[in-house]
Symmetry: C2
Subunit: 206 residues, 2 copies
């Protein structure tokens, strides 16, 4: 099974040089999402990519580098999507609705990559983990800022900020665990979850 047909955003890979690099990376994604990072071998990744193990090392130094590269691409893509949707402006309820809808849709459409990003996070080497954590913290900060902004404007009435933020992120992240293309359409799910998010912060649909 080829990964871009499983995930719905082949343009994620546009920044990766086509040919060998991209083939190795997508083979690593298939291997890590199917068997887990620890159980995947460079030999297996090479086989999936139709290369010799030595040829893999021409593109990536190690299995850990492949995990880092996948994690970086995934986390950076979510962050880009969130920043883009917030740049459209609007009142707090509208902004939060778009934020959650974007976050949920991303985790559905890119569920294979999202699973690797979320569930293999602690397999990253410590110095790589620190880099990825910065991207995650930036997502947190964006959501914190939205919740604060909506509270200050009186648009939101939040019961407890930390739990609300955690629950909102969890709703989105956990979509990657169960979503598949034959379950609920990603945009429909994203919009329904965004409606729920407004209820959670004590706002109404914009």
């Amino acid at each position: 099974m080829n990964v871009p047909t499983k995930d719905e955003s082949p343009d994620l890979w546009e920044a990766v040089p086509p040919g060998g690099n991209r083939r190795v990376l997508l083979s690593a994604l298939e291997a890590f999402s199917g068997r887990g990072y620890k159980a995947s071998t460079t030999r297996e990744i090479a086989r999936r990519a139709g290369m010799s193990p030595a040829a893999v090392y021409v593109h990536y130094r190690s299995k850990a580098d492949l995990l880092y590269e996948l994690s970086r691409i995934g986390h950076a893509a979510v962050l880009d999507d969130l920043r883009a949707t917030l740049a459209d402006g609007g009142a707090s309820p509208e902004r939060l609705h778009r934020f959650i809808s974007t976050f949920v849709a991303w985790h559905a459409r890119n569920h294979t990559l999202a699973r690797v990003c979320q569930y293999e996070l602690h397999q990253l080497p410590p110095e790589r983990f620190v880099e990825i954590r910065k991207l995650r913290e930036e997502v947190d900060r964006l959501l914190d800022a939205e919740l604060e902004r909506g509270s200050e404007s009186g648009d939101f009435s939040i019961t407890e900020v930390r739990s609300t933020k955690l629950a909102l992120l969890s709703m989105g992240i956990d979509v990657a665990r169960w979503w598949h293309p034959r379950s609920v359409p990603s945009q429909e799910l994203a919009d329904n979850y965004a409606d729920l998010a407004l209820r959670m912060v004590g706002a109404t649909r914009p």
Copy 2:
């Protein structure tokens, strides 16, 4: 690290004969949660349990049997806790509050076992998967019944039933991914999430 000190419910294991059986099962839990099911070997599980690989097979026929047994214990325990809390009765908002609080607290307190139950589900042999799926469907049915009951009584005003159910379950399940004993106390988190759940169904705190 010994598993019962990581998870907070050592009584989960009371039904497992102490001695060899329990030692093997807890070693499998440590291995599966640390390295993943696919990357864990019977040899490693035996070593963690202080046994020979042959001695492991006296207690469990295969690595797949160990995963099944852990999955069965975890899923049955959640279901027992949910049934017990619903048996206390009450009006719909109270019942849903207790349901979500119980579900969230379970996934925090038993986060190690919960992770194996959730993230290794598709590694179960097909006939075992079917058995575990029945337990999961029963959790679904309990929540469906609560949402229906609250809608009929007029206590809940649900925007979209399926997404609401999925989001409620995801909030709880995803706790197992990130929760650790030094993060927010499990009961506090459980109560805050239950408050959010009432907002999601359009009810107010009982």
